[in-house]
Amino acid sequence: MRLIKMIRHDIQFQWRHRFYFAYMVVCSVYLLLLHGIPSGYKEKTAMLLTFSDPSALGLIFAGGILLLEKDQGIHDCLFVTPLRLTEYLVAKACSLSLLSLIAAWVIHGFSLGMPSSPFLFSLGVLLSSSFFTLLSIGVVVRTQSINGFILLIQLYALPFTIPLLSLLDWGPRMLYSLFPTYGSLLLLSSIYRPIALHEIIYAIGILIVGNIAIFIWARHSFQQRILLG
């Protein structure tokens, strides 16, 4: 119950701070862009856009929200209530993933229509978005300013973009399969090609493992640097 309330509160916060408006504008621009792309390249471009923006929107926004909460001294008050740190982090991941999902569906729905596998597409967006949100939280507690955070997050996120090279058929696949984001790309590629069962199991598995690992890291970082720091 507390978790649902927290998620609702986070969504209201994001609405009030114009996240939904910003993404309405961003989605419109992407739709215009996709409109101008030749049909042979449209699906792959839509997948890349979905991966690099809606799926990764938490990367910048989660950090910004945390920095603002830190400036406003919200954390000290928040964690004297029964709210647990796990619920706080899960609520952030869920609320931002919901925005990612809506944006991804708008981009895809209006440019290419219904994805061939709506479930896998949605799962890919949700798990990728929560992964990037938790990564952002783990990084932002290590910085003091918004600009410092924006730079540092690029450094932390850069290795997770390596699987993008697989789209150019560069390097061995085994290397990419170590990254959770390779699972994201596989699930998102369901919009333009059928995915084998073993690929689905691998993609969901690596994303869940990645989410759990990054959650533990973000939780520990938050505890050490914000609550005990």
Binding site: R18, A22, V25, G64, L68, Q72, S145, I146, L151
Partner: protein
């Protein structure tokens, strides 16, 4: 240089070590220059071999597009820094010092202007794909004004750094300026006149087409538009800070 800015400059120089984003606004444009100089020829050969796509046909557009990133980086950085300082109530402290609030705004906007002017000039001279023409001077002046426009847009419309991030996302729309100037046919292109980045791109492209009078007219209109924006946005920002 006035003594009142000295402590801010010393503080910012110290900040470069602590807050590497200031350094990034310098290194980012340098990376763009390096890409245009070394990466662009390599990419064009690769695209030609793989897809029979001749990237050099679009080199003027590429210059107009890459040039735009140069002021947007320090502009966004400065805007977010001002929001950070406002969130931490630092601006009221600065306002109470001999620096005054106006001095603070001037200082925060002067640095991105200076960086934009220097780095845009460096791009035009060193990238190897830019046309050497008199109109580049107009383009540099307009690009220099882009940085404070973006910074003021963020601080005038955002209540805090989170809203600043959302707005900086929307400012990605500014990339529509050079796209419209290069690719959209004439009557429809006028829809982009309200996009500030349209003007430096259009001025540069008119220069490459050997249209000196149209380029001058584009510069003059763009300059007026940017000065109008600066005036409106700074008064909105001051009203919000009050």
């Amino acid at each position: 240089m006035s003594r009142k800015y000295q402590s801010l400059i010393f503080n910012d120089v110290r900040q470069i070590a602590k807050d590497p984003m200031l350094l990034a606004s310098l290194l980012g444009p340098l990376a763009i220059i390096a890409f245009a100089r070394f990466g662009f020829p390599f990419l064009s050969i690769w695209l030609e071999q793989q897809f029979s796509f001749y990237l050099y046909t679009y080199s003027d557009f590429t210059v107009a597009f890459l040039l735009l990133i140069i002021p947007l980086l320090p502009g966004a950085m400065s805007g977010l820094l001002m929001l950070d300082e406002r969130d931490e109530n630092l601006i009221s402290y600065y306002a109470a010092t001999p620096l005054t609030r106006h001095g603070y705004i001037f200082y925060r906007l002067a640095l991105p202007c200076f960086l934009s002017a220097m780095l845009a000039s460096a791009f035009l001279l060193l990238s190897g794909i830019a046309a050497m023409q008199f109109e580049n001077l107009y383009t540099i002046i307009l690009l220099t004004l882009e940085a404070p426009c973006l910074a003021l847009f963020l601080v005038a419309f955002a209540a805090n750094k989170v809203e600043g991030l959302a707005l900086s996302k929307i400012s990605g729309l500014l990339f529509a300026g050079p796209i419209a100037a290069a690719f959209i046919p004439d009557p429809l292109q006028y829809l982009a006149l309200w996009v500030p980045t349209y003007w430096p791109a259009k001025t540069y492209l008119l220069g490459t087409l050997n249209e000196p009078y149209f380029a001058l007219a584009s510069f003059a209109l763009g300059l007026l538009f940017h000065l109008f924006l600066l005036q409106r946005l700074s008064s909105m920002y001051l009203k919000r800070t009050d």
